[in-house]
Symmetry: C2
Subunit: 198 residues, 2 copies
């Protein structure tokens, strides 16, 4: 089957157009027409790549989640466990403009997922994966003696994960308050508290 363009590449470019529309006008204005215009395509052409709007939005949401998780995965291993953990958690927070953009889009999709069954599945999946990642970070700290193994791992996992997402939401809502150094300081303080006593 002859294919003149890379289908995945094209769909990715369209998904990025969705993100731009969401950031500029909000998810409720991410119409087929609007996204097509943003992507520089005609309406009919867009519908060749995405048969329905649901499919388009689901793809755009999955894409932003994958991008976040991929960036976490690509964090280089480090001898310093504490530095590694701080780096990974830093990849999840909106510390720069790119990640702020991702965080805003992510929040928009999560809110829509509350009333959209298709998106809800994606939200639950990413929730699962990120929670697991937080648990594994505690294991990394534990191997380096920086996590008190007397603590309840499940509770501490949820605590760390909730802290990160809470910081993210706050930074997105009030950009003036949640500056990058402040978020790093909160994160550092939390990790300090997890260390064994003494």
């Amino acid at each position: 089957m002859p294919r003149t363009v890379d289908a995945g590449q094209r769909r990715t470019a369209i998904a990025e157009a969705v993100w731009r529309v969401i950031r500029r006008d909000g998810l409720e204005h991410a119409s087929v027409r609007g996204v097509a215009a943003e992507a520089g395509l005609s309406m009919g052409s867009l519908r060749h790549w995405f048969g329905t709007q649901s499919e388009l939005l689901a793809f755009a949401m999955r894409m932003v989640i994958d991008r976040i998780i991929d960036r976490v995965r690509e964090c280089p291993a480090s001898d310093d466990a504490r530095a590694f953990v701080e780096r990974v958690l830093g990849e999840l927070l909106p510390l720069d403009d790119d990640r702020r953009a991702e965080s805003e889009v992510w929040l928009a999709f999560v809110a829509r997922a509350l009333a959209d069954p298709d998106l809800r599945v994606l939200a639950a999946e990413s929730d699962e994966r990120l929670r697991e990642a937080c648990g594994m970070l505690l294991d990394v700290l534990a191997r380096d003696g920086q996590f008190d193994t007397a603590r309840d791992r499940a509770v501490e996992t949820e605590r760390l994960y909730a802290l990160v997402d809470g910081l993210l939401v706050h930074a997105v809502i009030t950009p003036g308050r949640g500056t990058a150094p402040r978020m790093r300081a909160v994160l550092a303080r939390h990790l300090d508290d997890l260390r064994p006593p003494g």
Copy 2:
């Protein structure tokens, strides 16, 4: 000026209709027609109480924020500082169906506030007030010797506030995971960590 019905009461009832529509269909489906039907009113009648849709949504958002903060305010003072703090924080989390409903509506509004200047102001205001409340809770603990005053108050305030909102978001997204006892356990563990050493 003769008034046959209480205006505030009527507007409140309409706001509650907005919340029900948001929970059932999502904020993007909270149309003037849909809300009017949910409230048992005609379209024109609804427009007598709210001239525009923006005014309607802004009122509904302010209403849910006020309701949350009012409930926190009404927490009875207690001799046991720790119990008092746990109770107040518990009022913010979706520990029962009513508060789950509030939390879902709150999240929907916050996400929309990202691209809606009017709602963004409300979101920033509530953010400010709740952050202050968390700081005051730390003061309550400190007066009872349950908060290590050597800690940075601003950092710990943001940490506590982020933890609460993170728990809220997780509970809303994945109701199965974020059960009430689990959230309470995470909160309790966090407060334990804030105590002075020894």
